[in-house]
Symmetry: C2
Subunit: 300 residues, 2 copies
């Protein structure tokens, strides 16, 4: 990828920034109930690409607002993402023993602790939006952020997508149904990541907010297609979870429904659509452009 | 109980009010993902005493503010309570097949759906505070309500109490440790219920807010002691869950640590402390007084 070094630098900066903020937001490991707090920290710290926070910061850069205005939003989104992974991995859900190359939370701790850690991470996400100091963010913006995050995470967003996914097991999915699952399961939170920047930008023209939202919709779906492709093509030691897991569970994926080459093409088309949506932005939007290109070129 | 008829009327009014508001807040049963939405509605509607919403409305009456100002807070609290019951009943947690005289959510649906329904109910609680129209409530109050609810529900509140409870299984608990569990596990959300009224009251004197908070702390603990007593003394068909469950699981309870008569006495002392805390309030606080008396006289 052409801009890989610049993106790597941008990613590193955003990762360091959000990880410092997450470290602050999470209760100390020794604070009672210690086992719960250790599980919360285990689930969120020490691994993770921080794609969603990086998207929020890249959105801020595109809009010319300081990163400080999206810190709380970036932390909240990553906490929701972390909670969803902990719960998705549970035996009653996807039953994954491995996550990001480490034992999943319920294997490293126990099932009850993992359920509670996920629950408490979700609560902490909303606490962060309400409590953390945010540069020049007034309460109406905080309320809008809570509403946007709740919409993205709830039964007609991420949790709903996971429910649709579970309902679909053992049934024949077509592409429309598969896309509907992914729009909710992974797409909603990716859109919310970019929305955190739009909401934090005073007097943002609706056309620019819409352009960013369209960008986020496109890359969200591209991200999922690439995930499916990586599952088919990747190696366990590179992607950090068991390769071929979707095949073993006989789940519908983009490659299984479209074929591998057309799935690559669909992901590329979506990324090009995302890039076109950014044409009204100056080079402040370059990190968003690099992220779009990265999504279809990443190998994990 | 002396004021039982008046409390019954007040409870009925509050139940009807919050149930109408919950019906509005919950997604329709037929809206996809339908199974998830049915599970969310099953967990929250059609049963439940609505003690917490009634406390919020009683707090509003004590402070002379319209019930409309605490509707969203009452709904949010009850959604959090509903989510916690669904997750607490899971096989990996308390493993209860029965809740309020009906199959618990994971028995009526399935474990994955119950996990997701609990997750989505928590999200909906915060969505409600951010989105529902609230009479004359400005955004700074909404933010304060989100912060209060998150504090009460999270790892140093209700979820933390449940974690402490799980950690304590198989260990010898003393009264201080047991009280610490209950202050968090059930007490925090009961305090938050009354706080919703205090937060919604403009220009509330700190002394009155503190008096209400002390009332809530006392009755929260009394409520739990009475719950323990009901588990020892009650019949399954009256209390709606398996009687003696705590004994079977060898869990420490107030009666097991103190004896039955001293546990009754402790609950009564707490209720008297709660009533003293209300001395600075006029008869608008009578519903709060009736609730305090009800807590130690209830049989379910």
């Amino acid at each position: 990828m052409q801009n890989a070094p610049q993106l790597k630098t941008f990613f590193s900066e955003c990762q360091a920034r959000v990880e410092a903020a997450l470290e602050q937001a999470l209760p100390p490991a020794e604070q009672p109930p210690a086992r719960l707090h250790q599980a919360m920290r285990y689930a969120v710290l020490g691994s993770g690409k921080r794609v969603r926070p990086t998207l929020a910061y890249a959105g801020a850069q595109a809009l010319g607002i300081p990163k400080g205005r999206v810190d709380a939003g970036a932390v909240a989104i990553e906490l929701i993402h972390g909670y969803s992974l902990v719960h998705d991995d549970l035996p009653a859900m996807d039953d994954d023993d491995l996550r990001r190359g480490r034992p999943s939370c319920h294997k490293a701790f126990d099932e009850a602790t993992a359920i509670l850690a996920g629950d408490a991470l979700q609560t902490l996400a909303f606490a962060t939006l309400a409590q953390e100091p945010i540069d020049e963010i007034d309460d109406s913006i905080r309320v809008a952020m809570v509403a946007a995050l709740a919409r993205a995470a709830g039964s007609i967003g991420m949790a709903g997508g996971q429910a649709l996914d579970l309902e679909s097991e053992g049934t024949e999915l077509d592409l429309v149904m598969l896309e509907n699952i992914h729009i909710h399961k992974t797409g909603a939170l990716i859109r919310a990541s970019v929305q955190m920047a739009s909401l934090a930008c005073p007097d943002l023209e609706p056309a620019r907010a819409d352009a960013l939202d369209h960008y986020a919709k496109c890359i969200g779906l591209a991200f999922q297609i690439q995930d499916d492709l990586l599952d088919v093509e990747g190696e366990t030691d590179v992607i950090g979870k068991q390769s071929g897991a979707d095949v073993v569970h006989a789940k519908a994926t983009y490659p299984s429904l479209m074929g591998i080459a057309p799935a690559h093409e669909a992901a590329n088309d979506l990324v090009n659509d995302a890039l076109r949506s950014l044409e009204c932005f100056d080079d402040g939007a370059d990190p968003l452009r690099w992220i779009a290109q990265y999504i279809v070129s990443r190998d994990r």
